[in-house]
């Protein structure tokens, strides 16, 4: 690997030094740290004593790539951990030392909540208060976002280091609001306290409570410190600016015990501020190091891309351009009246780049502040139609929107008539289409025939079980075809057998297998009678149905790996839910965990995160379509970027979050200060500037700006980024020059 003199200095600096590397993204800090790690290992430093700590998993790639190389000598595996993983491992391993002091039951193992299961717990607190006492009546966001924001507040308190009982006070002191808003803050506070108490009483640990237990009760113990000091005698922490104050405090406490350290921080970043990232507390770690080394020269951008970044910075009212290169060499723009025309321009340009200029698809990214299904679908269709591989990263897509998952949920409702969840005939038709699927020409169960089958075999209002095929009218049987009938019958009979088995189990609960009970069980103590003894393990139900029927030849899941992946994610989500709650009193007495799971998925509360894994498994040499921040957080530069929808206010505005606040609920906020309009403008402006400059610094050669006069929703585009872009173009290009850039085939164009 060719290193710059600054990088060589890092690699060769004394093995017992602590270094703080600071500079813009793309200046080679991570490469220098990787080089130092490899050099240390080659010189005999035990790799089992090196620990790499990151704020989030997406940043691990350069380290994984280097450490999994066959060129590296044998040794222990270098640990790469996120802060969250380190906290979780510590709490699991040392639970017994903290449980009693932290107010938990020491003889009961902890249950660790995921984001989705934490939101479920929050729903059990918030829903009754809304329904019986009219809480949050003035708050106009969905219930799911309400739960998420209160959970988020608890995380912010834990990560920033203030008591969770002070959330409302901070918000009330800072935000100018009416009595309804003040009440909402107080109600959110009450819910946060109730949530924390409920978790403690049931040994449930959401991320906020894991952090609290770790920071207050474990990180202070010599055994814990010794354990991590052994594993991380040589500590590397990258992207400190994306880390939280809790992580920074932990690193500060670790530093006196390390043999060496490299702490790395990007300037003009901190993109995860909404997740409590704190560049301010990150910067304090500079004083804990022997040497501070500044990185100045970009290793990613061409001079013209750097000049373009300077021009954009100036247009946003920041620093003036220093570069002598011509920024116009690094940019193209397409001006169109309508949004679809702009998307066509993007697809045409990418086709030219890949087919005529030989740019690898994986070196192209398409970015927008929000990535709607319409944008994704249009661009993916167009590019795939040209034979260009494309992948999309849209982290919040819900599993319930996947036909395979919906089919399984419908089957679950049909298999458990005692739940009283009669699926709509339309859902049954879709289920049949997915489950029975297609098996070649002439053997497809298309939507029309699926609907016909559902209407006749499942009247819905009168009965919730599927009728035998031979009881259907002969003309219906004929239209469905006798080729499909055996599969329908096999599925129906499997469900009937399952229902009969369950009925028998309910009639004779003693014969039913008892679930493993948490908490100490004395010798010969009988299993306590519990509704879940005869309850359903939905993940097991899905696994059996999938294995015994749906994955078999002729069925819709057979060989359909997208469907099987969705099914796998649903199984995982159902298992997590059951394991977290089956031994608690959180599930209503008249319901089972399985019913509650289905109800919650249907509400969009659960199985929201699982879709992420699919996109991550996509091929990598493909054009990436992603929200701008998601691309930034991945921290992987590309050759060419396309920025869509410059007129959208999404580039400038924060998400509407009436119950939480990334600045007021942060470690550096001065309590009792008011959040003013000027603060809001400044925060938005800083975010836009950091976003723009962050994107530019992750671009090697060229940025294409897509501008449409009318935005995706048909309204005029007037956003701040478009205005800044207009100022930049006016400075760089006289109007006649701008005209030259317009495509000849543009139907209707204007300068921005």
């Amino acid at each position: 690997m060719e290193l710059t003199p600054t990088q060589r200095r890092i690699v060769e600096s004394a093995r017992d030094h602590t270094l703080f590397l600071y500079g813009d993204a793309g200046t080679g800090k991570t490469t220098a740290a990787v080089g130092r790690i490899l050099s240390m290992i080659e010189q005999g430093v035990p790799s089992g004593e090196i620990l790499i700590l990151l704020p989030h998993a997406a940043l691990a790639q350069p380290y994984q790539r280097a450490l999994r190389s066959a060129a590296l000598p044998p040794g222990a595996q270098v640990d790469i951990l996120t802060f969250g993983a380190l906290v979780l491992q510590t709490v699991k391993l040392f639970w017994g030392l903290a449980a009693k002091r932290a107010g938990f039951q020491p003889d009961t193992p902890p249950s660790f909540l995921t984001l989705e299961t934490a939101q479920y717990v929050m729903s059990t607190i918030v829903d009754p208060l809304i329904e019986t006492r009219g809480y949050f009546e003035g708050v106009t966001i969905s219930r799911n976002r309400l739960y998420a924001q209160i959970v988020d507040n608890l995380e912010k308190a834990a990560l920033s280091g203030f008591p969770h009982t002070e959330i409302a006070e901070r918000m009330k002191n800072a935000v100018l609001t009416d009595s309804s808003g003040t009440r909402a803050f107080e109600q959110a506070q009450e819910c946060a306290i109730l949530f924390r108490d409920l978790c403690r009483a049931n040994n449930l640990l959401d991320f906020s409570l894991q952090v609290e237990v770790f920071t207050r009760h474990l990180w202070t113990l010599p055994e814990v410190r010794a354990y991590w000091t052994r594993r991380g005698a040589h500590l590397i922490v990258d992207n400190l600016e994306e880390g939280t104050p809790a992580m920074h405090r932990m690193v500060a406490g670790w530093m006196p015990d390390v043999r060496s350290a490299v702490l790395i921080m990007d300037s003009e970043a901190g993109f995860r501020r909404f997740l409590s990232a704190s560049p301010e507390t990150a910067g304090l770690l500079r004083d804990r190091c022997d040497d501070v080394i500044e990185f100045e020269d970009t290793l990613v951008m061409t001079p013209s891309v750097a000049a373009l970044g300077d021009e954009l910075a100036q247009a946003l009212g920041e620093y003036a351009p220093e570069s002598t290169a011509d920024p116009r060499e690094a940019m193209e723009y397409g001006l169109r009246r309508f949004y679809p025309q702009m998307l066509n321009w993007v697809a045409d340009e990418i086709t030219l780049l890949v087919k005529d200029e030989g740019v690898p698809p994986g070196e192209i990214v398409i970015l927008a502040p929000y990535m709607s299904d319409a944008i994704r679908f249009t661009l993916m269709q167009r590019l795939q139609g040209e034979g260009i591989p494309v992948r999309s990263h849209r982290p919040s897509r819900s599993l319930r929107e996947e036909p395979a998952a919906r089919a399984l949920l419908t089957l679950a409702a049909l298999a458990h008539p005692e739940w009283g969840m009669q699926p709509a005939p339309f859902d049954v038709a879709y289920m049949l289409m997915q489950a029975i699927g297609s098996a070649g020409a002439g053997r497809n169960l298309d939507l029309i025939r699926a609907q016909l089958l559902a209407e006749n075999a499942y009247p819905g209002e009168t009965k919730s079980r599927l009728a035998p095929f031979d009881t259907l009218k002969p003309d219906v049987q004929e239209r469905i075809t006798y080729l499909l009938a055996p599969r329908y019958e096999e599925l129906r009979l499997w469900l009937e057998a399952y229902i009969a088995e369950r009925e028998q189990a309910r009639a004779n609960p003693a014969a039913a297998p008892a679930p493993k009970k948490k908490g100490r069980k004395k010798k010969n103590e009988p299993e306590a009678a519990s509704p879940s003894n005869t309850g359903v393990r939905l993940d097991h139900f899905f696994s059996r149905l999938f294995g015994e029927v749906l994955s078999q030849r002729g069925y819709g899941f057979h060989g359909d790996f997208d469907a099987s992946t969705a099914a796998g994610s649903l199984v995982e989500s159902a298992a997590n839910f059951r394991r977290a709650f089956e031994n608690t009193k959180l599930i209503p007495a008249d319901k089972t965990a399985a019913e509650e799971f289905v109800r919650m998925v249907d509400r969009g509360l659960l199985a929201d995160q699982y879709a992420r894994a699919w996109a991550q498994n996509d091929q990598t040499d493909a054009v990436l379509i992603a929200p701008a921040y998601t691309f930034l957080i991945r921290n992987q530069p590309v050759t060419t970027q396309f920025w869509l929808d410059l007129g959208s206010r999404g580039w400038f505005e924060r998400l509407f979050q009436p119950l939480t606040h990334p600045y007021i609920l942060s470690a550096t906020w001065e309590n009792n200060r008011a959040w003013t309009d000027d603060d809001e403008y400044e925060a938005r402006h800083d975010s836009l500037f950091h976003l723009v400059i962050g994107l530019v610094r992750r671009c090697r050669e060229r940025i294409y700006f897509g501008v449409s006069e009318l935005g995706e929703n048909g309204s005029a585009s007037t956003g701040e980024l478009l205005q800044a872009f207009g100022r930049m173009i006016a400075r760089l290009n006289p109007p006649e020059a701008a005209d030259d850039q317009e495509d000849d085939d543009a139907e209707d164009t204007e300068t921005p």
Partner: protein, 276 residues
């Protein structure tokens, strides 16, 4: 194709040995196919949870968490019996320097291969002992254990990568011992020694196997001829090799003890990414 950062382990190599098609689906294509592998699922799950907890308890014990604190987490009689067996004989005769849950990594045939050892106990310059805790219902035969890739890979990796735990000196194969300790058969551990000849043979065999895998392209991963294995495979429906999952109680070596190094990636963050 295998991902660029793919790392071999005893689990993936055992999959290839058992059925190349299984390796292809699970490791090359990373396909989720969530059919049950063995039944009854309730029993399988309880056993796996108990096994995972037992491994964690030993890990806690070896990093200094007091015995009485660990014992508080015991929540059933079977786990209690395993724990009592472990305290009575699990560490008997082991060198005093004990490294729990240690992952060693070696370059081989252009890739890396890892072994995640339950415990490595070292008497510097004299003896290096790998201990693997087994919680399976049945005690496997010596011949079957010897044939497992785990026995081959762990000893090989220790000799290649264990020098830093041996005072910086290379680990002599003759000083390596691998002990399978059975929680249900505490007085019948299976002990394997090692030799330079076995080490050379293991290196040649593993190199050849990995090179063979790397040479193969799509369609070059045939199904096993041993259809008895298929009932325990979640992909059996895909290959029309049965509908029902296998009988858990009939399995000689369960999944519980071998899943721990199946996915050597680091744990992901607890904070989910959100949409912007």
């Amino acid at each position: 194709m295998l991902p660029e950062a793919f790392v071999y382990s005893q689990t993936s190599l055992q999959d290839f040995t058992d059925c190349p098609a299984l390796f292809d689906l699970r490791w090359r294509q990373r396909i989720k196919y969530p059919a049950a592998e063995s039944e009854p699922l309730e029993l399988v799950e309880a056993h796996m949870e108990r096994g995972a907890l037992f491994h964690q308890m030993i890990h806690q014990h070896l990093i200094g968490v007091p015995e009485n604190v660990i014992a508080e987490s015991i929540d059933d009689d079977e786990l209690g019996a395993w724990w009592a067996n472990y305290l009575a004989s699990g560490l008997r005769g082991l060198p005093a320097a004990r490294h729990p849950e240690i992952t060693l990594s070696v370059p081989i045939a252009g890739r890396r291969m890892v072994a995640k050892l339950d415990v490595l106990a070292v008497d510097t310059g004299r003896e290096s002992v790998i201990v693997d805790w087994k919680t399976s219902l049945h005690r496997p035969t010596r011949a079957n254990l010897l044939a497992r890739l785990q026995t081959v890979v762990y000893r090989y990796v220790l000799v290649e990568a264990g020098a830093y735990l041996n005072g910086g000196a290379p680990v002599d194969p003759a000083q390596v011992k691998m002990i399978y300790w059975f929680a249900n058969f505490a007085n019948q551990p299976e002990i394997f020694t090692y030799s330079a000849d076995e080490h050379a043979a293991a290196g040649a065999m593993l190199t050849q196997m990995i090179s063979d895998i790397e040479r193969r392209g799509d369609g070059d991963f045939p199904l096993t001829d041993d259809v008895r294995r298929c009932v325990y495979c979640s992909y059996r429906g895909l290959h029309e090799r049965g509908t029902k999952a296998g009988d858990f109680e009939a399995q000689e070596i369960g999944l519980t003890d071998e899943l721990s190094d199946a996915f050597p990636d680091f744990t992901l963050d607890q904070i989910a990414e959100v949409a912007f």
